[in-house]
Structure formats: C-alpha cells, structure tokens
Symmetry: C2
Subunit: 379 residues, 2 copies
C-alpha cells in the first residue's frame, strides 16, 4: 500500500544518501474537498480505552485538514452491531470502521492474523512485523478480497487470561471447563478439553454468576474491572496466551480510500498511527491502579501453570497446521509471521527481556509488588 511503498522509497533514499525533502510539489494545489465520513466502532463508549482510539483519529484528522475531512464515530450498535462492522465497511454502508480483525474468523481464519493468534507476536513485535516485516502488504492483499484497507488502530498489550470460578492447577482442570471464549483461542481450548461457550455480551455476567459458565475472558485490569467479573469469579489468571497483543484495526472501504486526496490519506494514516500508540500507552498507564483495586477487592491473581501453557501451545501448533493444510491464504501469512516471530523472540530474549526481568526482580520493586498484588509465582 502507499505507506509501505513510501517507506521502501525512504529506505532506498537513505541507502543512497539522498537528503530528504518533501515530495509534494509546491505548485498551487486545488482546494481540498469537504468530506464527511462515518466510522462504525465495534466498541461501546464505556470501554473508553478502545473506543477512545477511534475518537482520537476523528479529532486529529479534523485538526490536520482545517476541519474539511470530518469523521464521525459511532459506538457499537448505533449504526451497525459491533460484530458487523467489517460487513458495513465492505458494503459501503459506512466509509470506515474500528474493530478487531479477529472478530471475523468465521469468514476466514486469516482474519485472526491481523489482530492476534494464540502464542503469537507481542505488541512491539506486531508493529515491527506490520511496518517493516512485510505484514502490512500481506494482510492488505488478503483484506482486498473484502474491499477494505486496514490500518492498525490501537493495541491492548498482553491481556489477562480471564476470570475463573475455580483454580486451574493442571491440564486436567481444563476438561469440561465451560468458558466464554471465541475465535482461534476457542478452537485451541477445545483441543485441551474446554467447552467454549458463545454467549451474547449482556448475558455473560449472569451466566458466570449462576455457574452456567465457569470462566470468561475479556481484556485486562482496567477494562475488566468495569464489567465487575471480580465480584463473582475469584481467580484471575495470566497471561492470555491467546492475546499476547491484540491489535485493533481501522478498516477503510477501498473505493472510499482510493477517492481520497493524498493529504487526507496521509492524515488518516498518521492519525491512526498516533492513536495506535496512544491506546496501548493508556492501557499501560491505567492497568496498575486497576490491578491494585481488584486485588484489594479479593481477586486472587494466578499464573497459568507452565504445563497448561505447554499443552495449549502444542494444541495451537496443531491447529495452525490443520488450517494451513486447507487454507492457502492463511498458510501464506502465517508462515511469514511465524518466521518473523522466531527472529523477534531471539532478539527480545537478549536485551529487552533481560532488562525487563532484572527490573521485575530487583529487590525493592519485588517487595513492593508482592505486597501490592500478592505472591506471584515465578515461572
């Protein structure tokens, strides 16, 4: 896509030692058009970290274009149901949407690769893959079949593994567990004995309260706290091995995108990039205090046992093999992402994890953390 193509050119310029200068000529340009777009969000206003990323794009694009390119953001359900945002963008009902690509795995499991897959990239690694690792070109080639262009728009970071009414001490404890979980994670869960449940958003709390389900997952401390699960399920597990990052996605109708002047394309791209970083920073800034409040309210924090992670990891590998055997689109992107991920883990294991792990274990912090959130098992 255009941005990728620019970056390649920028790279070439760098290699040749060319001094950068704006490419757009200063010849008198025709006045830019007034354009009004609608952005359908998959998120309710109450989940303000996710919904807010779309709002920031709207605000910024307005500022960048003297208010000539206006994007009005609609919460889930205002124009279309939250899980039908892609369809609305594809059909042209709205010009763009803010959603999670992974919501659409029912159409094609390849959609998961635009957000997160079990045991996939972390947030920074996803950005590296998208921007410099070929991810953008691969995914937008796939999205083209749905008449949309994708721009990353927000990330949750590594999520929590959800709320459980009973402890998960071994793989055996997963057998028969009724958990609200969807997508590829649900398919992996089936392989280790879990019975995934599809339950509409509003019914999750009463189902968990009554014990119709044993567990549910959502996002992380700040977002989860609002839903109140801590009142009815004591055990809060980590990490969500199915969402080591979760990239949210702006989908733009391709025809609408192509009709935009270059200035507006650039406005949308830079605004989405800014909001992408803004969102994960907001999650990171808000999660610690929320985690403290949850623990103060009685939540028991638990790491998934290593054996559980290993069993799920093995099941995930089997699933990717099965899907790849019958879906060439998935295989093409997955294989590229997997290669990239192996390289990233090699590198992160050195300086980045080395630094984080020392800081996490440094005595003063360790004592403080243990006091605040209870004993955290060291894996």
């Amino acid at each position: 896509m255009e941005r990728r193509s620019f970056l390649q050119k920028a790279g070439a310029g760098l290699a040749a030692g060319i001094v950068a200068s704006p490419a757009v000529s200063q010849q008198s340009t025709p006045a830019l058009p007034d354009i009004k777009w609608r952005m359908a969000s998959s998120f309710p206003k109450s989940i303000d970290t996710l919904f807010g990323a779309g709002q920031l794009v709207s605000k910024r694009v307005g500022e960048l274009t003297s208010g000539k390119f206006q994007i009005q953001v609609f919460a889930a359900g205002e124009l279309v149901p939250g899980l039908q945002v892609l369809d609305a963008v594809q059909s042209g009902t709205v010009e763009m949407g803010h959603t999670a690509s992974s919501y659409y795995v029912g159409k094609d499991p390849t959609f998961a690769l635009g957000t997160a897959i079990p045991f996939g990239l972390n947030a920074r690694q996803f950005d590296a893959w998208w921007i410099h690792g070929g991810g953008e070109a691969l995914m937008n080639e796939f999205y083209k079949d749905y008449s949309v262009l994708c721009l990353p728009l927000g990330n949750t970071g590594a999520q929590m593994g959800g709320w459980y009414r009973r402890e998960i001490k071994s793989v055996a404890d997963l057998k028969g567990l009724k958990m609200r979980i969807a997508g590829l994670a649900g398919e992996v869960m089936i392989k280790v004995g879990v019975t995934p449940q599809q339950i509409a958003g509003g019914d999750v709390y009463p189902s968990l309260e009554k014990g119709t389900i044993d567990a549910t997952e959502f996002i992380g401390p700040y977002d989860d706290e609002k839903l109140g699960f801590y009142k009815i399920a004591k055990f809060y597990y980590y990490p969500a091995w199915w969402e080591g990052n979760a990239t949210l996605n702006a989908f733009v109708n391709l025809k609408q995108w192509e009709s935009l002047p270059g200035e507006y394309k650039a406005a949308l791209q830079t605004a989405c990039s800014e909001a992408h970083t803004w969102m994960v920073a907001r999650e990171d800034a808000l999660n610690p205090a929320a985690l403290r409040r949850l623990v103060a309210a009685g939540t028991q924090l638990r790491p998934f046992p290593r054996a559980v992670l290993q069993a799920c990891h093995q099941a995930a590998r089997e699933l990717y093999q099965e899907i790849s055997n019958k879906n060439a689109k998935f295989k093409k992107v997955y294989d590229a992402m997997d290669r990239f991920q192996r390289d990233e883990i090699l590198w992160f294991r050195v300086a980045e994890n080395g630094y984080d792990n020392y800081m996490a274990s440094a005595e003063a912090n360790s004592a403080m953390t243990t006091k605040a959130i209870g004993a955290v098992e060291n894996r």
Copy 2:
C-alpha cells in the same frame, strides 16, 4: 501542551459520553502559509534507523500540508555539530532539531529524564508516562527554560551493554575498566570503579583496538555492527542497564512552534508520533539478523552478572538521591517518574512479562535461539 490538553478534553468528553466530532469549524479558513524549516539532526546518515526517523517526519509533514510546510533534514555536522543541536534550536539558528535529550546532561541532569536513565522505564513504559502519566507536561515545563518544546521522535528499545575486550564476571572486574560511556551512566560507572573515558566518535575504534580503552557502548546489533567493534572486542554484554529504552527527541524552538497554524502543529505532532513508532519497529525488525551475523563472526554474547546489575542499581539510586538533594527540577520529575515506574513494573510483571517469558522459554524457540546465538544464561 496542546496535545496533552486535547487528550484531557477527550477524556472528559468520553466520561460525559459526548460523541466526538472535529473541533475545527468548517468556516472558510485563510490559506495556510508556505513555511520552510530546517531540522538539525544529531545523527549521521549512516546510522539510518535514527536519522531515518527525522526524514520520515519531513516527508510526512510535506504530504500532510500539500507541500506547504517543508522541513529539510540536515545530518550531524552539516549545519551544527551533533552535540550542539539543542543550542542551535534554542538560539533559533534552526527551527527544530532531532537529538537525544540526554546528550545535554552537562547543562542539567534533568535532560537525561527525557531520554533514559539507568534502571529507568522501558520503551512502552516511557510512552505511557509521556502520554498519559504526566511526563509530557513535566518535561516540557523543564524544557521551556531552554526555549524549546519536545516531541518524542524515535526509540531504540532496550540497548546492548556494549563491547568488552575481556569478560566481566564480577563487580571486581569493573575496577579500573576504561570504558567510553557518558552521562548519568558514566557517573554510576564511577561509583562501581569504572573509569569513564570521553573520546570523540572517530577515535573510539582505534582506542579500543589499541587497548587505550577496554570497552565501549553504542546501541544494539544493527547499529553497532556498522561500527565494526566486533572485530576488536569479543564480548558483547546485555542489557544496557543505562538504556532500558532510549527516547530520541524532536526539539522545536518555542517561538517558532507558537507561530505555527494549528494544522501544522498537528502535522508535526502526528508525524513525530508515527516516526517514533516506526523507528523502534525498525530496530526490532533489523536487530535479529544483525545479532546472528555478529555471533557468526565470533562475538561472544554475555549477560551482565546479576551482582553487577545489583551493584550498579544501588549506585544509580545513590546518584539520584545526590542529584535530587541539590537540583529541585530533577527531583520533581524524577520522583514522579519513579512512582510511575514502580506501578508499571507491577503491571508488566504480570501479563506482559509472563507472556514474553513463556514465549522465550518455549521449547522450540529455545532450541532455535540457543543454536543461533549460543547458550544464553538464564537469570
């Protein structure tokens, strides 16, 4: 600053459930002015990941403004020496610069807090602090005394600890070590027995080759490889406990900033934010292959012993106390950053590190990594 103030308003809007809409009116606006700026970079073109972030800003701002706001980027030494960029921006010799705030600790140690301090925030934590944790307001209050505004413009991620002619097996091995290292890290090094050396860039390689110095540090595999230190110093240590992230900084002359129309301010802010993310993603994408090449060329990868990290950490804490006792500006920002960091470590220790550590240790990756980079001591 404006961006911060917007974000606060956005937050208020969210809380009140107000539907976002562009704030700029659609009344006919006066034509935007043609403006040409010069950006002095502290980096040479050859260090293309760092220098490239400035180039991307130039390119994007041009695209966003129909080429009316042009920023020409000059490499280190083309207009001003690399370490005098701040002075050039402050005096108005250039309208803006791309540099590392920490280069200017000689003026005031508070400058280090805008880039990195020993045992400070990691890259994502720095963004969270800057955008949502009060960092932007605190630092720009400080920078105001130098007539500049700061926008983060790039990050290296956690750096490598540099190149050593001999192994560092204990704190005792640091005694008398002649190392090229500057800033607050150099002051911490003195406390543990190192003799920091100030050597001009071009003299570092011959000094290390001749043994005039025992060690030097730079950035990470991709950038370090270009300088060729692996040919003359076998041991490559990690992590750089003095740069768990290194935020690069765009400094804009305050008068020039205030003279910009709102559209151009927004263009510069969003372009810097995009390039900020682009840079760390580029480092992350390029470092793995560079690390492999270095190891293939004979580099011995070594983690700093935990006792060394602990001694340096203790020395850093003493240094911050000493500086705080005599510098109220430093104390104000440091105390706020330190509080924020303790919270971040609490949270990252749960889902984020839990996920990264499992992935790093997962069997397949572990075997692959060990083969590629040699046995990595597990701390």
